[in-house]
């Protein structure tokens, strides 16, 4: 009838071929292993290096174990504001000179602040390795920011907040979800923080934060690329070795109480033109044995146009502009998000009911072998496709070293995904994606004319 129907026969013949090659994938295509070496300096700085001489390029990252969860009440957004200050001058490097010295070398530089950690990185031609180590060591050892530059930079950060949160459609949705999903744990607020709290921050806060958290015993130096590892360790010791060890670093002690019943909130947003929903479920932390089956579940739900949520909500029902399920694994209590944006005229509560029933099916019945293999192939492919550059490798190596607390997991994580069974997927969906653990937040366009 329709031309599309003529394809189904071909598909039946295609499918076994796909399955056959899919099975072959696991044997033939293995992501290349990194040769990882680790050392710790006397002052507590951990250094993790992986030599890759295929291009004359190095990526260097300094991970500090401090993020938005470490912020004091009334000082939300401070870890990120502080990150900006790290470019405003240190003992031997004037304001913005850091950027310039990297750039003159042909390098790229940036930083980002998360819930758990703050990461500074440079990618550069390999013969500039010592300069980059010197730059990072200088701002770990000392910070030299003027009151005037502090005030200007705070305005820059407030513009960033307007750009990311206050103005775009759905910009404040994440904040609303976190505030409702967490009762106590300091993931209750996002790294960008509140504008009022940013205004409360002072230069004295900046200095205190540096002396507490920006110490070698709270940092991990990651190096990936074109160097000889022994020489890289020697240069790192030369520049970082003289920085005194700091006091033991305070850690978050809050415990998130177990959620006993479903929570619901809704938000009127004059900028959001379509209804949307997020359903958040509490999960264990990153690296938990159940996290791998949960990632496989997320892949089955969301990865590609054959995924369950896309197929049902976007393709078949045409109810949603987008529908996804994904896990956000953090160092502390983590979350699984199911979310969707409704097409015009579609009922958002009906869409959420569909998402929940798709989760329900996965809890009721094991996923097929075909879907399981598909998810494993997608994850394997992402290990290869998404770790092409030195920087992408260092990102994951840093995550292994800091979040999973063992850099060697860079090479072994893939094995944990490979050993997940259909029964594991069913078990974790049944255990974690339950109504009692859910926080649902609806976002609705403000009524015409607004208030």
């Amino acid at each position: 009838m329709r031309p599309i129907d003529r394809g189904s026969l071909a598909a039946r013949t295609l499918l076994p071929f796909v399955l056959m090659t899919a099975a072959n994938v696991l044997a033939a295509d293995t992501p290349p292993a990194l040769q990882i070496r680790q050392t710790t300096l006397k002052n507590g700085l951990t250094i993790v290096a992986a030599e890759d001489r295929s291009r004359p390029v190095v990526n260097l990252q300094v991970w500090y174990r401090v993020g938005s969860k470490d912020e004091k009440p009334g000082k939300t957004g401070f870890a990120h504001l502080f990150e900006h200050m790290m470019f405003r001058g240190s003992k031997n490097v004037g304001p913005e000179e850091h950027m310039r010295l990297v750039r003159q070398a042909g390098g790229a530089v940036n930083a980002y602040t998360g819930f758990d950690s703050t990461v500074y990185w440079e990618t550069f031609p390999s013969h500039y390795l010592e300069r980059m180590l010197w730059l990072e060591a200088d701002r770990m050892a000392s910070l030299d920011v003027s009151e005037e530059n502090f005030r200007k930079e705070r305005e820059v950060v407030k513009e960033e907040r307007r750009l990311r949160v206050e103005n775009p459609p759905y910009g404040n949705l994440l904040e609303e979800v976190l505030r409702n999903a967490y009762a106590r744990y300091p993931y209750r607020h996002s790294p960008i923080g509140s504008a009022e709290d940013l205004d409360r921050a002072t230069l004295a806060d900046v200095r205190a934060f540096h002396s507490v958290y920006y110490v070698p015993n709270n940092a991990v130096l990651i190096l990936v690329g074109d160097f000889e590892t022994g020489e890289a360790f020697r240069l790192a010791e030369k520049h970082f070795g003289g920085i005194p060890r700091g006091k033991p670093v305070p850690r978050v002690r809050a415990k998130e109480p177990e959620q006993k019943s479903r929570r619901e909130a809704s938000l009127q947003d004059p900028k959001a033109p379509l209804d949307a929903v997020v359903a958040a479920y509490h999960l264990p932390p990153a690296g938990h044995p159940d996290s791998y089956a949960l990632e496989i579940a997320a892949s089955i739900l969301s990865a590609g146009q054959s995924s369950r949520l896309y197929r049902k909500l976007v393709y078949e029902d045409q109810a949603a502009l987008a529908a996804q399920g994904e896990a956000l694994f953090l160092e502390g209590p983590s979350l699984f998000f199911g979310y969707a944006i409704a097409n015009p005229g579609k009922e958002i509560r009906g869409i959420l009911a569909s998402i929940e029933s798709i989760f329900g099916e996965m809890a009721e019945k094991p996923v097929s072998q075909e879907e399981l293999e598909k998810a494993k192939n997608q994850i394997l492919a992402s290990f290869i496709l998404e770790r092409e550059s030195m920087q992408a490798k260092a990102d994951f190596l840093g995550k292994c070293a800091v979040l999973l607390k063992d850099p060697a997991r860079y090479n072994t994580e893939i094995g944990r995904y490979r050993s997940v069974t259909a029964a594991d997927v069913q078990r974790v969906v049944r255990k974690y994606l339950t109504p009692d653990r859910q926080t649902r937040v609806f976002i609705h366009p403000a009524p015409a004319g607004g208030k």
Binding site: A11, N24, D29, V57, G107, E159
Partner: protein, 478 residues
């Protein structure tokens, strides 16, 4: 006798007072780097194929570009190329949309099609053991799409919904409106995603005939990169695309960009507390002889964190989180634009600074130090910019599609080395016309529109009345 401890104290105090800054350690000798070698051949059907062998990963990627981009759709059908590209994956003569999706996802592969100003790009990336499946699927969606009415309606709805969200974004609208303010009614001026009206009006027949007319091997380039030797790769190209026997129209040039004219376009979004600003005029095509000199100059003006523009607006004034300038060159014309965003009450001030900086830049395009730094950056970053197989492939393809010549990238740094500060200054002065800028601002208009009259005639259009394809940008009354 002064005790040693006191001497030390004096030394330390002096140190603190004079605070001599240490210099950064010097670089080691640079490791040599050559742009990876590409081998190119033209198949008998006119398809030009380039291959880059890179065995670092068990991966094969390919991209095909066809001269069927936005510029080939008339303004009243804006979005046609985007919708056509979206439909390629949604069904062929032998595979349904979901069959394609299952085949791609099952192998952990990637298969995508997107539209740009000049070309539709179809790309795939598969693990080595599934590379043949990747080529088969890619060739199928390139050669046999059916544009089934049901799938067209579905993709139309998806694009309409995403436009509904985009139209709530001042950032999106500033980019789209600036293209019209700068390029007027040039084929590159219209939004590639179309508008709710143009997307809604497209028919299955529009897509099928657009595809029939423009998708042909003599209008296409293919690049293959990854764990295949040149002969293996050419054999795949021949096998999957050699039988593609169609002859499309010859590659006719598009008209040049319009002459710059001063004008101010304000899109009013009263809900915003931040204004998105884009200032510029027509740029240059990608194959323009001044391209490298202007790129280098742009590094100095607004192409980097330490550029004059960002240092002034962000670092020194705290007006914005970012201010950048860039060239968007297409095959026959381009855009030069400087853009930023700032809180509503600083809008006029930020625009004033930006325009003043452009004037000052034309008078004084580069100091020796700025020139040296920008050149060192472009040269030094080349190995990083071409680090992955996919980034090399993208550059090889750009050289082919824009007719830059096969030695363009291998000799790129050599050309940079030969550039002088005088070359850059001359190119900037030939090009830049800071008295004839098109200024676009999207935000809460009543707070700043009145202050922009000195730059040219000001038009304020409420966002609900904006029509990005209408000659005067305003929706016709029903």
């Amino acid at each position: 006798m002064i005790p040693a401890a006191a001497l030390l104290l004096i030394a330390m105090t002096m140190n603190a007072q004079t605070a001599p800054k240490a210099a950064p350690p010097p670089p080691a000798p640079a490791r040599p780097y050559e742009f990876p070698r590409a081998v190119s051949r033209t198949l008998p059907n006119g398809l030009r194929v380039s291959v880059i062998e890179d065995r670092r990963l068990p991966l094969v990627a390919a991209s095909l570009q066809v001269l069927a981009g936005h510029a080939y759709a008339p303004p009243q059908k804006a979005g046609l190329a985007t919708l056509a590209a979206a439909l390629l994956r949604e069904g062929t003569k032998t595979r349904s949309s979901q069959q394609i999706a299952r085949a791609v996802d099952g192998a952990g592969g990637q298969l995508n099609a997107t539209a740009g100003n000049d070309v539709i790009t179809v790309s795939m990336a598969f693990m080595l053991s599934n590379a043949d499946l990747g080529f088969e699927l890619m060739a199928d969606i390139v050669r046999n799409p059916v544009f089934a009415a049901e799938e067209v309606a579905r993709q139309q709805q998806q694009i309409l919904s995403s436009l509904t969200v985009q139209y709530a974004s001042a950032q999106y609208l500033a980019g789209a409106a600036a293209a019209r303010a700068i390029l007027g009614s040039h084929p590159y001026a219209y939004p590639g995603d179309g508008t709710p009206d143009t997307i809604g009006a497209l028919q299955r027949e529009d897509l099928a005939s657009f595809y029939e007319q423009y998708f042909a091997p003599n209008r296409a380039w293919l690049v293959i990169a990854g764990s295949l030797g040149a002969e293996e790769a050419f054999a795949r190209a021949e096998k999957w695309f050699g039988g593609w026997r169609k002859q499309g129209p010859a590659d006719e040039p598009l008209p040049p960009a319009p002459e710059p004219q001063p004008r101010v376009l304000v899109v009013d979004m009263p809900t915003e507390n931040q204004t998105h600003i884009a200032v510029g005029h027509a740029g240059i095509p990608r194959n323009h002889p001044d391209y490298i000199a202007l790129q280098l100059g742009n590094q100095i003006f607004g192409g980097s964190f330490n550029s004059r523009l960002n240092m002034k607006l962000r670092a020194n004034e705290g007006l914005t989180y970012g201010a950048t300038s860039y060239f968007e060159p297409s095959r026959f014309a381009g855009i030069f634009e400087a853009s930023t965003f700032t809180r509503t009450e600083k809008t006029a001030e930020a625009i004033r600074m930006l325009v003043d900086l452009l004037k000052e830049y034309r008078d004084n395009p580069a100091t020796d130090a700025e020139f040296d730094e920008a050149r060192a950056y472009l040269s030094g970053s080349f190995a990083i910019a071409t680090e992955t197989a996919s980034s090399v492939a993208a550059r090889v393809l750009a050289a082919e599609v824009n007719g830059l010549g096969t030695d363009y990238w291998p000799r790129y740094r050599e050309r940079l080395d030969k550039l002088t500060r005088a070359d850059v200054e001359a190119a900037v002065r030939r090009f830049l016309e800071p008295g004839k800028l098109a200024i676009t601002a999207v935000g809460n208009a009543k707070e700043f529109a009145g202050a922009l009259e000195s730059y040219g005639p000001v038009r304020v259009i409420p966002v609900a009345e904006l029509d990005l394809t209408a000659p005067d940008l305003v929706k016709r009354k029903p």
